[in-house]
């Protein structure tokens, strides 16, 4: 629980995760000094901020002891609804409403998830999975029913490529603000205390007079909103929205949260750890695609597609790091 008390108090997992980031960068720098250039690091921070925004909501849900598997199509829904906004509301209103409308779609998904998990007491894993299928169905219907508008509005583009503060890309700034708010909520408000407490034992929190079901719904709504906002940013980055744009984000999101030391059964974890996990995953993917270890293996006579090595290293790093700090106690 110490990690919950102070945002700057480091726990073991966060320290190890940041240590691994430094190690990765050092190894990368041995290969190519450009890995330590400010340009490269800022670029990685920008890439990480998309995952960071999405992982913020996921972390809250995991802290509760639940999981949200609906984020792939919530991301796609956020992006696609934001770009379709002009089609729905006309040019003037649609352009202004694009971003809020995208996030609103995510809020709705989160609301249904929350009601299913909190009030119907359905296991979150399967309920959110069903919601993912429904969101996918809605998007397939949306694109199949009539020709969709998939171009982003200038504001969405600016949201991603612009620099409100010189030198810092907007998504990084957004992630920073979102992170500060999250840390504040988790450590300084009763909602934050309730989130940690529910993750430890919901029954006890209920008995102490907290409306635990409302807390669950709020967190699922935040998670849906974060995923949809991530989708809005991603479509701004790609300059368009498309189906399946969220698919590559489910596993990295869960991995980032868990690598950052958040207990997958809930109740423990710090936001700083999640930040470390997000940066670690992003760096790992980037360095593996730059270094291209398949050529070293090819010299040894082993022909491997680059994706193979990326996937295997990804899996081994997760298991390896969890073995260091994610083990459970022995049954007693």
């Amino acid at each position: 629980m110490n990690a919950a008390l102070g945002p700057l108090k480091l726990d073991k997992a966060t320290i190890i995760a940041f240590g691994c980031i430094v190690l990765l960068l050092a190894l990368g720098a041995l290969y190519d000094p450009n890995f330590l250039s400010a340009d490269y690091l800022l670029q990685q921070l920008l890439t990480a901020s998309f995952l960071g925004v999405i992982a913020t909501g996921m972390m809250l849900v995991i802290l509760l002891g639940h999981i949200d598997l609906s984020i792939p199509w919530t991301i796609a829904m956020g992006g696609m609804m934001a770009t379709a906004s002009t089609g729905f509301f006309g040019d003037t209103v649609g352009t202004i409403a694009a971003v809020p409308f995208g996030i609103f779609a995510g809020v709705l998904v989160g609301l249904v998830n929350g009601i299913g998990v909190a009030y119907l007491r359905a296991p979150s894993m399967i309920f959110t999975l069903g919601m993912n299928a429904v969101a996918q169905g809605l998007m397939v219907f949306h694109t199949g029913g009539f020709s969709p508008q998939d171009a982003v509005t200038p504001f969405m583009r600016q949201l991603v490529v612009g620099h409100l503060v010189p030198g810092v890309a907007n998504p990084v700034l957004i992630w920073l603000v979102l992170g500060i708010v999250t840390v504040f909520v988790l450590t300084r408000t009763s909602l934050g205390r309730q989130i940690y407490a529910i993750g430890n034992r919901e029954r006890a929190v209920f008995l102490s007079g907290v409306n635990t079901r409302r807390v669950l719904v709020v967190c699922f709504v935040i998670c849906g909103a974060c995923a949809a906002f991530g989708g809005v940013l991603l479509s701004g980055w790609a300059n368009r929205s498309f189906q399946a744009m969220g698919d590559p984000y489910l596993l990295p999101t869960i991995a980032a949260v868990v690598l950052g030391g958040t207990a997958v059964l809930g109740g423990r974890g710090s936001y700083l750890g999640t930040v470390a996990g997000v940066i670690l995953i992003t760096l790992l993917q980037s360095i593996l695609s730059v270094v291209q270890p398949q050529y070293f293996l090819a010299d040894l006579g082993l022909k491997t597609p680059p994706e193979t090595i990326r996937q295997i290293v990804f899996g081994i790093v997760i298991v390896g790091m969890m073995l260091i700090y994610g083990r459970e106690r022995l049954s007693r």
């Binding site: 296991p123 894993m125 069903g130 299928a133 919901e202 193979t308 298991v319």
Partner: protein, 339 residues
Amino acid sequence: MTASTETAPASRRSWEGWGHRLGAQRGLLIAAAIFILMFAYYGYMQPVGLSSNVINTAANKGVLLALVAMAQTLPVLTGGIDLSVGTIFVLTNCLASNIVHGDPLMTALGIIGVLVAGSLCGAVNGLIVVYGRLQPIIVTIATSAVYFGLALWLRPQPGGSVNPEFADLMTRSTYWVPSSIILIVVVVLVVWLPFRRSVIGRAAYAVGSSEQAAYMSGVAIGRAKFTAYTLAGLLSSIAGLSLTALTYTGEARAALSADYTLNSIAAVVIGGTSLFGGSGSAIGSIFGAFVMRTVGDLLFVLDMNPVLQPLFVGIVLLFAVSLGSLRLLRIKNKLDLYR
């Protein structure tokens, strides 16, 4: 029941025994009933009726998911989950497209190789879960990345081949009985029932309902979990083998593995197995899988707008999950709602 209370105690006891047994199998029976109703309607809507061809196609498609869902059931029974069943399925499909061909001896060795490979993947999951003491969901997310990498290595591009005689044997239908149905019956008889009746199988159920209590009663927790994950790998590899026989190729497609992993969880739930562990059966999951597949077939014969189909499947899934909430109506003490 009212009649039995009047009669001799012995017959009353046997009645209660039956009632209890049926109660324990309620999920399975409901899934089976839904499947039979749906499939009968599907056959009725078919212009050609339930020809042996129609049955064979449906069986071949359904058995793949049924095997993966059986695989998913075992870890779920122990209170865990296996998110790598879909990737083991794809990995063994890629492996089979490489090694299951040639003369009968080579083919047989290839089949054994595929099954061993699948079991090894499952065993790795089990070892990390038991000795690493990590959460199964994280372990299997990580290992599924590794297995998918290996599948890509075996099959960077779709292709490969399989012994055509073996493929035909696996997918044909003899006297209206599809080979795939025989396969699943054999798997139930050779893998599931012996496991269910063994000490380890009971231990798996015990661990799933309360690990603490199981530990206190001296149940071999580690062995139960390890066996569950290993058998899950084996069953997934049988599915991978069947897929190769059906398509004659291997393909490392991420969407395919994700689809099977997710649908396997849905099939397990529809089949009456609790995601919290400790109750349910792999036979229920078979019917759950067939229900999932028949929904898609039904939408097809009902001429539903194709763009609406994914939405409808999702709604059916949500509805099936929400049905479980009916139990909330019976809860008298509000405290029982919470963990």
